[in-house]
C-alpha cells in the first residue's frame, strides 16, 4: 500500500476516487450490499452527534456551579451526580451517560471553534481538514450502499443565530464523503419521487441507460463513468424500500409522540431510523444557543423538548438493541462564561463565550455510563481535574466508533495527513 512507485500521489488520489465511483453502466440495478456481505462479523458502529450550535451553557445544563446556580440542581440516577433542574429525564438516564466536565478547548470564536470541535484543528486558512462525520463516512461507510454514509440534519433554530452552519467539508477524503443534507426531517431526502408515474419514469430511465452505452462507449472518461454510477444509484434509490428509512411518518404514533413534534424531535427520530438502516454518521444541528442575553430562560424553554426527546432517543435505541453500537454525542463549540463582569454586556451567568471549562457528554457504543470525567472549581470557571481538549474529545469518539484516527491519507499535493495528531489520545476513563 505504501509503495507508491513513481505514480504521483495526486494520480493515485484520482485513481482511488475513480475506483470507487466508476462502475459498469450495464443495467441499473446491482445487488444490495450489506455489512454482512462485506465480510464484517458485527454490525458496524454508528453515531448520532447532537451539535448544539452557538455555545451551550454548562451552568444551566449538566454542570451547575456550586456557588451560584440560577437553577436548582437535581439528583440523577447516579448518586452524587447532579444536573440542572430542567433535565429531569436525562438525569434519570445518567447511568447511560458519560459526562465530560473538563472540556477545555481554548477557542471561543464561533466559526473557528466549530471547525476545531469537528476537525480537531483550529482553521489556519491553508490546510483543509475533514470533520468527524466525513471520516466516519470514509471509515465506517459502505461504498456501494444505497443509503448515504453521512447525513446532516438541520434540527431547527431556537434563539440567537451565530453565523453560518458548520459545513463538514470532506477535504482530502474526496467529495464522496460530503454530507447529504436534510433541511426538513419531515420531508426526508428530497427528490426521491419521480415527477411522472413510476412506469413512465422507468421507460425513460431505460432509454437513458441505452443512450449512455451508445454515446459514451467511444469516449471513456472517469467523469462519465462516475455520472453513470450516480444515475444507477439514483434509479436504485427511487426503487429501493431502504429509502423508507427517510420517511418518519411510517413510525407508529406512540413513537412519533415520544420524540415530539418539534423539528429537533423529528430529527432525532429520523436519525434513529437512519442508524437502524445502517447509516454510520448522522449529525443534527440545533442552532440558536448563543445566549448573550443570559441563558437561563432560553435553556428552560429548550429543555422542554430537548429533555424528553433526547431521553426518548436513548430509550428507543436501547430497546432496539442499538445503543451498544451507536454512539450518541451531545456537544457544542464551547460553553459559556461564569459570571465575570459586574455590569454590562455578558454580565450574567452563561452570557459570554467560554472555551476553558465546559461540558459534553456521550452515551452508547461501549462508553461507560454513569461516569463523570473531570472536575471544575466552584465557580465553574476552571478545570481542576482532567481537562479534555478537542483532539482528545474526537479521539474518544473515534475510539468508540472503532475508527483509526491515525491512519494516513494523502492530500492532492502529496502531503500525508492523519485525522488527528500523533499525540492524540482518547479519554480512557470513558470506557
Amino acid at each position: 500500500m505504501r509503495s507508491f512507485g513513481t505514480v504521483s500521489r495526486r494520480d493515485l488520489f484520482k485513481i482511488s476516487a475513480a475506483g470507487v465511483t466508476a462502475a459498469s453502466s450495464s443495467g441499473w440495478l446491482l445487488p444490495r450490499l450489506a455489512y454482512a456481505q462485506e465480510g464484517r462479523s458485527e454490525r458496524p458502529r454508528g453515531c448520532i452527534m447532537l451539535h448544539m450550535q452557538g455555545g451551550v451553557s454548562q451552568h444551566h445544563t449538566f454542570t451547575v456551579p456550586e456557588y451560584r446556580a440560577q437553577n436548582d440542581q437535581i439528583q440523577t440516577s447516579v448518586p452524587g451526580v447532579l444536573f440542572g433542574e430542567y433535565f429531569p429525564r436525562l438525569a434519570a438516564r445518567m447511568s447511560d451517560i458519560c459526562l465530560i466536565r473538563g472540556m477545555s478547548t481554548g477557542n471561543s470564536v464561533h466559526e473557528r471553534a466549530r471547525v476545531l470541535m469537528h476537525t480537531g484543528y483550529n482553521p489556519n486558512g491553508t490546510v483543509a481538514y475533514p470533520s468527524i462525520g466525513n471520516i466516519a463516512s470514509c471509515e465506517l461507510g459502505v461504498s456501494e450502499s444505497e443509503l448515504p454514509n453521512f447525513v446532516s440534519i438541520y434540527g431547527g433554530s431556537d434563539g440567537l443565530g451565530s453565523g453560518p452552519l458548520h459545513r463538514s467539508a470532506p477535504a482530502y477524503l474526496g467529495p464522496r464523503h460530503a454530507p447529504v443534507p436534510v433541511n426538513d426531517p419531515a420531508r426526508g431526502m428530497e427528490n426521491l419521487r419521480p415527477a411522472v408515474a413510476l412506469g413512465q419514469f422507468d421507460d425513460g430511465a431505460n432509454l437513458l441507460n441505452e443512450f449512455e452505452s451508445m454515446a459514451q462507449a467511444r469516449r471513456p472518461s472517469t467523469a462519465a463513468a462516475a455520472h453513470q454510477a450516480n444515475l444507477r444509484r439514483a434509479v436504485q434509490l427511487i426503487h429501493s424500500d431502504r429509502m423508507r428509512a427517510f420517511e418518519i411518518e411510517r413510525e407508529p404514533l406512540v413513537i412519533r409522540n415520544g420524540y415530539g413534534s418539534t423539528q429537533f424531535g423529528k430529527s432525532l427520530l429520523l436519525a434513529r431510523r437512519l442508524v437502524e438502516a445502517g447509516v454510520p454518521f448522522i449529525e443534527i444541528t440545533l442552532d440558536g444557543w448563543d445566549d448573550h442575553g443570559g441563558a437561563v430562560n432560553n435553556i428552560r424553554r429548550r429543555a422542554q423538548y430537548l429533555d424528553p426527546s433526547i431521553s426518548f432517543l436513548l430509550d428507543d435505541l436501547k430497546q432496539r438493541g442499538l445503543l451498544d453500537n451507536t454512539l450518541v454525542v451531545f456537544m457544542s463549540e464551547f460553553g459559556r462564561t461564569p459570571q465575570l463582569a459586574e455590569s454590562g454586556y455578558n454580565q450574567t451567568l452563561g452570557a459570554g463565550h467560554y472555551a476553558n471549562t465546559w461540558t459534553t457528554w456521550m452515551a452508547g457504543a461501549g462508553v461507560r455510563g454513569g461516569r463523570v470525567i473531570g472536575r471544575v472549581d466552584n465557580r465553574g470557571g476552571t478545570v481542576t481535574d482532567r481537562p479534555v481538549n478537542a483532539q482528545e474529545f474526537l479521539a474518544t469518539m473515534c475510539h468508540a466508533l472503532r475508527i483509526d484516527y491515525q491512519k494516513e491519507y494523502m492530500t492532492r499535493e502529496g502531503r500525508p495527513m492523519t485525522f488527528l495528531t500523533r499525540s492524540a489520545r482518547p479519554v480512557q476513563e470513558a470506557f
Binding site: 509503495s3 512507485g5 486558512g125 491553508t126 467529495p175 455520472h227
Partner: protein
Amino acid sequence: MLHRLAIAVLTLVSTAPLAWGSGDSRRTFEGDILPILNSHCLQCHGGVHQKNDLDLRTHAALMKGGKSGSAVVPGKPDESLLWKKIVRDEMPKTDNKVSDANKKLIRAWIEAGAKGKSKTREVNLARAAIQPAEVAKSIDREIDIKLSAAKIPASPRGGDTEFLRRVYIDITGKPPAAEVTKAFLNDPSFDKRVKLVDRLLASPEYGQHFAERWLNVFRQMAVNEREWEPAPFLGWLTDRFNTGKGWDSTVREMFSVTGPFAENPQASFYYYSADMQGKFEPKIMVGNLSQVFLGVQLQCAECHNHPFSDYKQKDFWGLAAFFSITSTPNNPPNTRGVRDNLPKQKPKAGAQVSITIPQGEARNAGTRLRAKFLGGAEPELDAGASFRPALAAWLTAKDNRLFARASVNRLWAHFFARGFVNPLNDFGDHNAPSHPELLDTLAEEFVVSGFDYRHLIRSICLSDAYQRTSHVVKGNEKPEAEPLFARMASKVLTPEELYDALCVALEVSEIAPPSDPKKKPNPKGPQPPSPRSLFVKFFRNPGDMDEPTELKLGVPHVLKMMNESGFNAGGKVVERVTLSTKSREEAIDELFIAVLARRPTAAERDRFVAFASRQKSAEEAYRRVVWVLINSSEFVLNN
C-alpha cells in the same frame, strides 16, 4: 477500498516503465529521481528535517551530501551512498520501501552521470507578439514532439459539432442555441472555426464567463464563509476582460486598491483573504497570492521551511510584511473598503517595513522579518505610504516568470482540463512541467502581447491540440496519454455552466425551483435569491476546481435533475418542436440539436423514435426525450 487502491497502484507501476523508453541519459534528477525521493525520503531529508545534515530536495544539495559525505558519485552507483542505502532497504527506515522498478531507475540514472536538469532557455521579452495562427503552430509542434517520442497516437481533429459545443462552453460558459448550431453546421466557409472564435471573444459572455471563473478560484481559496454581494466585483472583472485590459494591470489594480467599495469594486478581492470572521489576514493573503498568482505552495512555509522545496519561512513572512498595515472593515459590504493604517507622523527616512511572526503554532514566533519579494530583494519602501503598489508591480512585472507561467498554466488548464504543471498551484523543481518548452513559449508570448488573454485564447483554440476529438483512437486510451494531450479531455460542467446549459437546452430564461408552501413571499423583505444562484449553491461542492475532469456531483444532485418539476417540464423547446415538426424523426433531430448541439446517429434516432411512438402524445414523448438527454453524461460534460 484499500484493496482496490493497491491493485490500481500495481497496475500503473507495472506499465509505467514501458512509457519511459530506454534513454537513460535523458533522465534528470528533477524529472525522474526527485519524485521518488519525494515519496520516500524528503520527510527526513527535506525542508523540515535534515537528518545527518542531508538535504535531498535539490540536485546541488544531493551532490553536496550530508555528514557522511556526498550522496552520489556520478557514474558509480556502487560507490554512491544513496544507492547503497536504498538497495539494501536500509533507507527509508519506514515500511515505505522503494520499489524494485524505482531502484533500477535510480541506479540507471547514477550510471548515466546523475544529471540535473539542463538550463532553461533564455527568454526574449523584447520581441513583438506573433500571429495566433503561428502560436498555434508552435503549440502543435511541441505537443506532437512529446507524443511521437512516447509513441502515442493523437486523436484526429473533431467534427464541427464537437468543436462548436466545446468552444462555446469554454469561452462563453454556455452551449450554443439550436439556431446557432444549425447555422454553423450549414456554413460552408473553410475558416468558420476561426471566425467563430473571434465572434465568441467579442461577445459580452466571454468576459462574464472568465470573471465568474476567476471569482470561483478566489472563492475556493477563501476561508471567510460570510457571503457578500459579488455582483460589483464580478461586473468590474467582466469589464476588464471585455475591454481587453492586460491581465497584469487587472491584477495590479486588485492588489493596489485603496478606498471605498462604491468607487472600487475590486476591493472585494481582499475579502477572499479574510479569516472566518471577515477580518483581513496578511498570512491568508500570502497563501492565496502565492498559489493563485505565482503557482507555488508557499503557505507550507508559514509555520516551517517548506518540506519539498526551497522556500523558507522568511520568504512567506517577507511577503506578508507588504500587507502588515492593511485592513478591511469587518462586515462587508461596508463603505470603507480597503485601507492601510499609515503612521500619523511621517516616519524617519529608512524606517524598515517588517512583520512579526505571530505567537501560535508557527516556529520562530516573535521574529521580526523585513518585507522581501519572493526569491528577490528587500526593497526600499516608504514607511509612510502603502506598500502594496510596490508588491503589485513586482508581482506583475514582465520578468517575473512565476507570474506569467502560473497565469498561462491556469489558462491552458481551462481549455485542456490539466496544466503543464499539476496541481496548478504547485510549481517547483519537485514537480516538473510536462511541456517545459511550450510553457515557456506561451509565457513569453503572454508577456510580449501585453498579458493579452484573448491573444492566448485565440492561439489555443486554433491549435490542432485543442480541436482534437475526445474520442479515443487505439493506443491513446491509456492513462499516460492524458498528460500528453493525445485527445481532448472531457470536462465536467461547472454548476454555473450546467445551469446555463439547462436554460439554453430548454429554451427558457430561468428554471424556477418549486415553491416552498411553508414560506410565504415577503414583498417587503430582501430580494429572494435568483434560481440560478440557488441552483449553483446546491450543486457547488466544497473542494477544489483544479480537477475539471472529476465529477463532484453526487446522488442528491442527480436526483434533483431527475425528479424536480422544473427539469421535467420540458421548457419552451418541447412546445416549439411539437408545433414546428412534421415527423417524429424530424422532432428527434431538433431535440438533439437543442440539447446536445448535434444530430443523433442513425442508431440513436431509431431508438428515440421507437421510444417516442410508445408515449401517449407527441408532446409527452418529447418531454421525456428532453429528460433523457439532459440527464445524460454527454450533457453534463464538455467533451
